[in-house]
């Protein structure tokens, strides 16, 4: 489809961020090389340019970091809550001050559009620290009894889709409740966590309270298994979540697991179509669909299927894919070559199984990892693309006739993280929301997040909640 308007490039300046050629691990308040001297490169997924070389943590480094966190725990947990609160407020404010720099950094390392890092990730990161800062001296009132105690050292492993936001979800409640942390960011997005280490330094956070280990899955596994870790928090795939649950069986370690999803976005025949289409687009194409709570299954009532699909395809044809630093970009790069291969392979499976593929007409840049917005129609519940999490900009469209059928299809999943409901009828929203087995339900909206709002899944989407008062429980010995 020919664009009505041509857009001149409007790139955000890279000059606000100064990426060093190499980074060490952040242990006990110092940047240090890995014990065995190993390093790995992190690239910009939109250009494949090497951004920096970072230390690759091994078992010895995990041990050093856990030891440092353990040493720091006594003093940190003994601080009055009001003092811990002030450190967290400092962190929140410094993040706000440095938010443009961090947004550009995140866009470079992750590949997501600057519009998202600037308008979604960074504001939410600062808000999360600000929210939990306020809890630090109010834990007696959180509903877990008087003087609830922290667990100790939290080992936290986070994914690459929202690197800094996932860090905030993990570190803010852990510190507010008096725990110390060892956090491992994903191997494809290590940089924002290392910049966060510098934020901690600026905030004067006592050494050892936050330790950052960049590395691969082996480091994450060593962290989860380390006997000095009292609490495991993981966001990532269901397969790894299950492996972690097995690893910690029979130990005293408390866990929160925030895993995969295959969210149903249900559009009833009375929904306002234009609004619903925007919601469908937000649901599955936000962050290139690399979102655990993405609305990756569109359940549309049969009578409006054609109308919704027509509008949706028209809208998808107007999305701009390209330079993530461009302020007009809607769809950025896929985070890694591996993830692109996974998406490609699942889409091929969808075609082989007979679902009908449609891909938005857009030109893909020659370098980097890209996947054009794609949808499948004629999808049944048996299709792989209706069951497996694709974690990419791929929407599977199914139909239903009655609300009961919509609910049954929505719940027919091993996952239970998110769902959406589009209808003008209030009682139907409430009735359907009641029956959905999902941790987060959005009515006439999608992919909204807030630090006060608990987030987490039913069934194999994991357990425990992050955010809100509920999120404190995961870090308290209650």
């Amino acid at each position: 489809m020919a664009s009505a308007f041509e857009y001149a490039p409007a790139p955000e300046s890279r000059s606000v961020v100064d990426i060093a050629p190499s980074y060490g691990l952040f242990i006990d308040g110092e940047f240090t090389e890995a014990a065995d001297g190993k390093v790995f490169k992190t690239v910009s997924p939109s250009t494949e340019e090497v951004l920096s070389e970072v230390a690759r943590a091994g078992t010895q480094d995990v041990d050093r970091a856990v030891t440092a966190a353990r040493r720091a725990f006594g003093t940190w947990s003994a601080l009055p809550g009001s003092e811990r609160a002030k450190y967290l407020f400092r962190i929140a404010r410094i993040i706000q001050e440095r938010s443009r720099e961090l947004a550009v950094l995140e866009t470079l390392d992750n590949g997501k559009p600057i519009r998202e890092t600037r308008d979604a990730d960074l504001p939410l990161v600062a808000a999360h620290f600000f929210y939990y800062a306020g809890w630090a001296d109010k834990l007696d009132h959180a509903g877990y009894g008087a003087n609830p105690r922290p667990l100790g050292v939290a080992g936290q492993v986070i994914p690459w889709n929202f690197p800094l936001l996932m860090l905030a979800w993990k570190i803010a409640p852990a510190l507010a409740t008096g725990n110390t942390v060892v956090l491992k960011p994903a191997e494809t997005t290590p940089l924002s966590a290392l910049f966060f280490a510098d934020v901690c330094r600026q905030a004067g956070l006592p050494k050892g309270v936050v330790n950052i280990l960049t590395g691969y899955g082996d480091a994450g596994q060593a962290l989860v298994e380390h006997p000095g870790v009292d609490k495991v928090a993981f966001t990532g795939s269901t397969a790894v979540g299950k492996a972690i649950a097995r690893q910690i069986a029979g130990t005293g370690k408390k866990a929160t697991l925030e895993l995969g999803g295959k969210g149903a976005n249900i559009v009833f025949d009375d929904a306002p179509v234009d609004q619903a289409v925007e919601g469908i687009v937000t649901g599955i194409f936000f962050n290139q669909g690399q979102v655990c709570c993405a609305g990756s299954r569109l359940l549309v009532q049969e009578s409006v299927h054609d109308e919704v699909l027509h509008s949706l395809k028209r809208r998808l044809s107007t999305l701009r894919l390209g330079d993530p630093l461009d302020k007009n970009t809607d769809i950025g790069a896929i985070n890694s070559r591996e993830q692109l291969a996974r998406i490609t392979s699942l889409v091929e499976t969808g075609e082989a199984e007979g679902a009908e593929r449609w891909t938005a007409p857009c030109e893909l840049p020659s370098a980097g990892y890209w996947f054009a917005p794609t949808l499948f129609t004629g999808v049944t519940q048996a299709h792989t693309v209706a069951r497996d999490e694709i974690f990419g900009p791929v929407l599977s469209v199914l139909t239903f006739r009655t609300p009961d059928e919509a609910v049954a299809k929505a719940n027919n999943s091993q996952y239970g993280l998110s769902a959406g409901i589009w209808t003008e009828k209030g009682s139907r929203i409430l009735a359907v929301a009641n029956k959905l087995r999902a941790g987060v339900v959005w009515a006439n909206t999608f992919n909204k997040f807030d630090p006060t709002s608990p987030f987490g899944g039913y069934k194999e989407s994991g357990f425990g909640r992050e955010g809100g008062r509920h999120g404190l429980e995961a870090y308290l010995d209650v």
Partner: protein, 306 residues
């Protein structure tokens, strides 16, 4: 018997799907009091019995979870009423099962009745404690509500055959879950008799299913069952190896696991004080939190209508 009358023995049976079947395996095992005196032959349930119980519990889940909290509260209270009328029977059974004096056994039964009353009152309050509105920074009404997690396998404590059993079972069903209970292996009789109380308390069939037998034999298929949502490992407390094995199996479908050592300061040797204030821990252990976002719209010139 002193008057020369020969007493009528009770055939102890399982309680599954609202019915009282024998084990499909046809097996029984001898149950004795702590001194070794024969009390009864209890059904020795098989893994097939465990699977049948899960089917019954799953079938009952929608109706029980969907019942009003007031309704569930009245039914739990009805259990207390029915139990109150059978205090002497249960005092006798608990005394035999646990080797307690008559007065101690009576106190245990009274505490169990009171525990049903305590949880009956929680059914319509837990949502107000565990849920609520969240003040999000945007034009949304955001509400978190606790919901039952589904079918819960409950390994009842080995030592406290009745008060312990009630203390782990009542909170599971108070919030709308359905339960498959594995009774104390050596002292299953009070649990099996409880089935008779539940069956006459308006509790829908399948909400509680009670199995007797060898704990490990039943716990393993339950821990690895793909249609069980959660497991309470209290009854595995004396065997850390078994508890670990069960938790490992439970990871296959990410069951919610309540570990033995994390409950009420349990020491793994049956040292739990079941008369202590139970708190809300066992209620919240098998709840999911669902958070729903509703746009609030905006009034006036700014646009969207309400």
């Amino acid at each position: 018997m002193s008057d020369g009358r020969l007493s009528v023995f009770k055939t102890y049976k399982l309680y599954v799907g609202g019915k009282f079947p024998r084990s499909e395996s046809g097996r029984v095992y001898e149950v004795t009091d702590p001194k070794g005196k024969w009390l009864a032959n209890a059904p020795q349930s098989s893994r097939k019995d465990a699977r049948d119980a899960v089917v019954a519990a799953r079938k009952a889940f929608g109706g029980w979870a969907g019942a009003t909290a007031y309704n569930r509260g009245q039914i739990l209270y009805r259990v207390a009423e029915m139990l109150e009328g059978r205090r002497e029977q249960f005092a006798r059974e608990v005394a035999d099962a646990e080797g307690l004096s008559k007065s101690k056994a009576a106190a245990v039964v009274d505490a169990a009745v009171d525990r049903w009353v305590w949880y009956a009152g929680w059914t319509d309050k837990i949502a107000q404690i565990a849920g609520g509105a969240n003040p999000v920074a945007g034009p949304y009404f955001n509400l978190s509500t606790p919901e039952p997690t589904g079918v819960v396998a409950v390994l009842a404590p080995q030592e406290s055959s009745f008060l312990g059993l009630v203390s782990v079972l009542a909170p599971v069903i108070a919030t709308g879950n359905t339960a498959v209970v594995v009774a104390s292996a050596d002292a299953p009789l009070p649990a099996l008799s409880l089935g008779e109380v539940l069956a006459t308390s308006d509790l829908p069939g399948g909400v509680v299913n009670i199995l007797s037998g060898r704990t490990a034999e039943l716990a393993l298929p339950l821990a690895s069952h793909q249609d069980v949502n959660a497991i309470d490992l209290t009854g595995a407390a004396p065997d850390a190896g078994l508890a670990k094995e069960l938790e490992t199996a439970a990871a296959d479908n990410l069951k919610r696991v309540l570990r033995p050592q994390h409950v009420d300061g349990e020491d793994g040797a049956g040292g739990t004080d079941w008369t202590a204030d139970p708190g809300t821990r066992r209620l919240t252990a098998f709840l999911e939190t669902k958070t729903v976002w509703h746009p609030t719209g905006a009034l006036g010139a700014s646009g969207s209508s309400y």
